[in-house]
Structures are given as C-alpha cells and as structure tokens.
C-alpha cells in the first residue's frame, strides 16, 4: 500500500510541476506575446526573418509568427486567435473588415503575381500581356495547371483571374489543386512541368532550383498587395491590442519600409517587395 501511496504522491507532484510550467508561460502570454498570422510568402521569401528580430528588439514583444495562407490567417483573426494579420487577399480582407473582425487596415507593400511554367511553354503563352488571355490559352491547350487550392491570397487571385475568363477549370483533368503553400506548389509545378500562378517573391526565392520561367507578367490584374490588419479587440478582449498596434506601426514606419525596399536585392538582383505605406489604395484587385 505504501508504494502505491508514494507513487500517487509522485504523480501529484509532477502534475503540480507541469501546472507551474504552464502557469508561468500563461502569465507571460498575457502581456508580451504577439501572435502574427500571415501568408506563407512573407515567411518563405525570408522577409519576416529580417523584420521580426528588429521589431522584437525595439518593442520588447515576442512575436509568434504563424505562417499559413491568407484565408486561414483571416479565419484565425475572425476567431480572435491572432492579434495582427499581414495578408494579401484584398477582396477577402474587405469582407473581413466589413464583418468588424479587424481594425486599422493599412497598406504595407506590394509586388506582383507572375504566371510561370516550363520553358518549352506547351500552351504558347510566353509574351502574352493579359493574364486572362494566358489562362484561356492554357485551358484551350489543356495544359497542366497547378492551383494552390488552399484559400490563400494567391488562390483567391487565381480564382479571380479564372472568373474574368468566364471559364470554370474545376474538375478538368488538366487542372490540379495541391492544397499546399506557394513554395511547395512551385516545386510540384516544376516536377510535373505545369503552369502555376505565383507571387514574385516566393518565385524569385526558389528560382534557382525550379527550372520554371516567368512567362506572363505586368498585367495590372496581377498586382499583389499586402495589408496589415489589427484584430478587433472590441470583439475579442483577449487580443493583445498594444502589441498589434505597435507591430502595425512598425510595418509602415519609414526605416522598415526602407528595409522592405532593399530586401533581396543583393541575393536576387531585384527587390522582392515594393514599400507602399501611406500611398492610396491601388484599384486593380
């Protein structure tokens, strides 16, 4: 009996210890932790690795970056499970704002989407200036197209382009959905020699291993805009409002914008993102 008793005592002590560990991290979570839900492109391109440490140093907050698609990031915001969002899906963002889920939506930066594909270009879209015309040619040729299929900002943009063509690619044998992030989808497209729509930042970051080429670019429809949104504390009292405010202010501050402007130039020969803070909202969405 004695042994069982001491075993029970030991278990109780362990539970108390664990509770202590959890309790202390909970206390910290209240004040200094900031959950940033963002798109994969800001992480996969390496931009956040550059910016987050600077923000943490200057503000004292500890940023928990959760890199998911823009769709999931906004879903987290809608549930109050994130404090601040950095996303690129303007139409969905406007719905998010209209539903009162967020406050202070601010323009941060842009780059553009590009249509990439294998160098031999079976659908013959190279040099096409209109994204819709290129998509129509891909559909007409029945050439393999890889879609993100994950409600990310890129997927939303791709669906927008398909909508503009008047075609419904869903269910077609040449249209496949990966359900993966941008980097992984580019890898799948490279392996299967298919076309895909990618943000320029992620494409440039992965270019060296892909063997895919930019075939269509420059259509105003392909503009890719990033906003920072603070999750509405009125709806979710547990949201770290001062932290979210500080992060948003950091993203649009002049020194940060300067870092965004020069990010990637040394490595890729051209900038990955163009700072936009304070500029008027672009219209091509």
């Amino acid at each position: 009996m004695k042994r069982i008793f001491s075993a029970l005592l030991f278990c109780a002590a362990l539970v108390l210890l664990l509770a202590g560990v959890m309790g202390s991290s909970a206390a910290r979570a209240e004040t200094r932790d900031l959950i940033l839900a963002t798109t994969t492109s800001t992480q996969d391109s390496g931009l956040l690795d550059e910016l987050i440490p600077l923000f943490e140093k200057s503000s004292g907050y500890f940023v928990k970056t959760i890199a998911v698609g823009s769709g999931q990031a906004m879903a987290m915001g809608t549930k109050g499970e994130a404090d601040v969002l950095l996303v690129h899906s303007p139409a969905a963002e406007e719905k998010f704002m209209a539903a009162d889920s967020g406050v202070h939506r601010q323009l941060v930066m842009h780059n553009d989407f590009v249509i990439v594909g294998p160098p031999n270009d079976p659908a013959g879209i190279r040099g096409e200036t209109s994204a819709t015309a290129a998509f129509k040619k891909i559909a007409g040729a029945g050439a393999l197209f890889l879609s993100r299929g994950d409600n990310s900002g890129t997927h939303a943009k791709e669906k927008g382009v398909w909508k503009a063509t008047g075609l419904t690619p869903d269910g077609q044998s040449w249209y496949q959905q990966t359900g993966l992030g941008m980097g992984q989808t580019l890898n799948v497209a490279a392996e299967k020699k298919g076309y895909t729509l990618a943000d320029r930042g992620t494409y440039l970051a992965l270019q060296k291993t892909l063997g895919l080429e930019i075939l269509v670019e420059g259509d105003p429809l392909l503009l890719n805009v990033y906003h920072v949104i603070e999750v509405n504390p009125g709806k979710w009292p547990k949201v770290n409002t001062p932290g979210a405010r500080a992060f948003a202010a950091f993203m649009v501050a002049a020194p940060t914008q300067e870092i965004i402007r020069s990010f990637g130039v040394a490595k890729f020969g051209s900038p990955l993102f163009f700072p936009d803070a304070g500029k008027p909202e672009p219209s091509g969405k």
Binding site: M1, K2, R3, I4, C11, L14, V21, M22, S25, A26, A27, A29, E30, I35, T40, Q43, D44, G46, D49, I52, F62, K64, T65, I66, A67, K79, G80, E81, L180, G181, M182, G183, Q184, L186, N187, A205, L206, K208, T209, L210, W236, K238
Partner: protein
C-alpha cells in the same frame, strides 16, 4: 544525386561549425520529444499494466481502443489540441498554444497509446503461472505489479523506443500546436518542412540527416541498455 551529396556536405558543415540555430533546433527536438516520452511512460506503463492485470467488463473494448490509439494520426491530435488550446477554447486560460509546452502535450498524447499498448502486450505475454508463483511467495499486490513490470522490461524498452520514435519524427501536430516559431518552437521536422518549401533542399537534407543521427544515437543507447539487461 548531387543534391544529396550537397546535403551531406551541408549537414557536416552545420554539425562541425556548431551552428547555434541548428543546435538550438536539435536540442529543442530532444527536449520536447524526450519530455513527451517520459510523460507517456508514466501514464502508459501504469495504465497498460492495470489494463493487463485487471479483469472487468468492457476490457476487450478498451484494449481495442488502446490498440487503435497506437495508430493515432498526429494531425488529428494536432487539430484537437489546437482547438482546445485556442484562447477562446475550453483550455484557452492556460495560454500555452504555440509554445513548446503545447508540443509536449500533443506529442505526449500521441505516444501514450503506443506505450500503453506495448506495455499491455508485454505484461500479458509473461508466463501465466509467474503471477501465481509470485503471489504464492507471499508478495503483496503492489509488489506483484512491480515484479511483473521488471520482468517485462525488455519489451517495455521496445515501447520506449517506439514511443520516442513516433514523436520525434512527427511533424503534423508539432507544426499546428507549436507554430514553427523561429528560435522558440521550431524543431527538426518542422524546420525540414519549411526549408523544403523555401527550396533550400540542401539545408532540408542536412536537417533530415541530423534527425536520423539523433534517432540512431538514442535508439543505440536504449538498445545497449535493453541487451545488457537481457537474461542469459
């Protein structure tokens, strides 16, 4: 093939230079999965032994549930732990989502049925009259349980290896409840996924090799212990 060679070279470079980030990721993997395995041993060996020795209605059903749990998909565990730990979820007051503590919890849940199932099988596999013999020698019930666990230690160590192997190689739950946060909750598996999607295949291969090496070292040590204690 070049890629794999590059990966091996990169792994050697990262290992020999003691790259602080890779070292931190490796130590965290070890810490999270090690703690989770210890917790699962505590719960799993206790409940597995009890389940093996006790007789009660519904025992077969419970045993089938444990055996099903041995194949518990990590993403399912990850999803449910995430939902429970959300700020506005039932356990949100703990405030541990996206922390290593949450990863320990999720991995512990994954490893516990594995350890329980193997404990159950190994205690049941002991010769039937061993129990009678021990009782006949005048052992109390706790003494009986203790002796049986000691007798079953060889397969139990296999349970430790299976549990640890299951969680250190797991990625779905870790990325969901840990968030893969740099320098905080990034472990070898989640870092490998991220480096792959970044197209840094050489780093991804290097991390994989470090993971394999780590698994090998741990299992080598456990096997040494297991075989040393083998009754001859």
């Amino acid at each position: 093939m070049d890629l794999i060679a590059e990966g091996i070279a990169k792994a050697l470079a990262l290992l020999t230079s003691f790259d602080p980030e890779v070292l931190g990721i490796t130590l965290l993997s070890l810490k999270v999965s090690g703690t989770a395995t210890l917790l699962s041993l505590l719960v799993g060996i206790t409940s597995g032994t009890l389940l093996a020795l006790a007789e009660f209605p519904g025992k077969r059903l419970l045993m089938s549930l444990v055996n099903t749990g041995m194949g518990l998909p990590p993403v399912v565990v990850g999803l449910f732990v995430t939902i429970f730990l959300w700020r506005n979820g039932p356990l949100g007051f703990l405030g541990i989502l996206y922390t290593p503590t949450a990863m320990i919890l999720a991995q512990g849940i994954i490893a516990t049925p594995i350890v329980t199932g193997i404990t159950l099988a190994s205690v049941q596999n002991l010769p039937a009259n061993l129990k009678l013999q021990i009782l006949a020698l005048g052992a109390t019930r706790p003494q009986l349980v203790w002796i049986l666990i000691k007798e079953a230690r060889l397969p139990l160590l296999a349970g430790v290896m299976a549990g640890f192997g299951g969680v250190i190689s797991e990625v779905g739950a870790s990325i969901m409840v840990g968030g893969n946060i740099k320098g905080y909750s990034r472990v070898l598996t989640t870092a490998t996924v991220m480096e792959t999607s970044r197209g840094n295949f050489d780093v991804a291969i290097a991390l994989s090799l470090i993971l394999l090496l780590l698994c090998f070292v741990i299992n080598y040590l456990l096997t040494r212990i297991q075989q040393r204690e083998r009754p001859r």
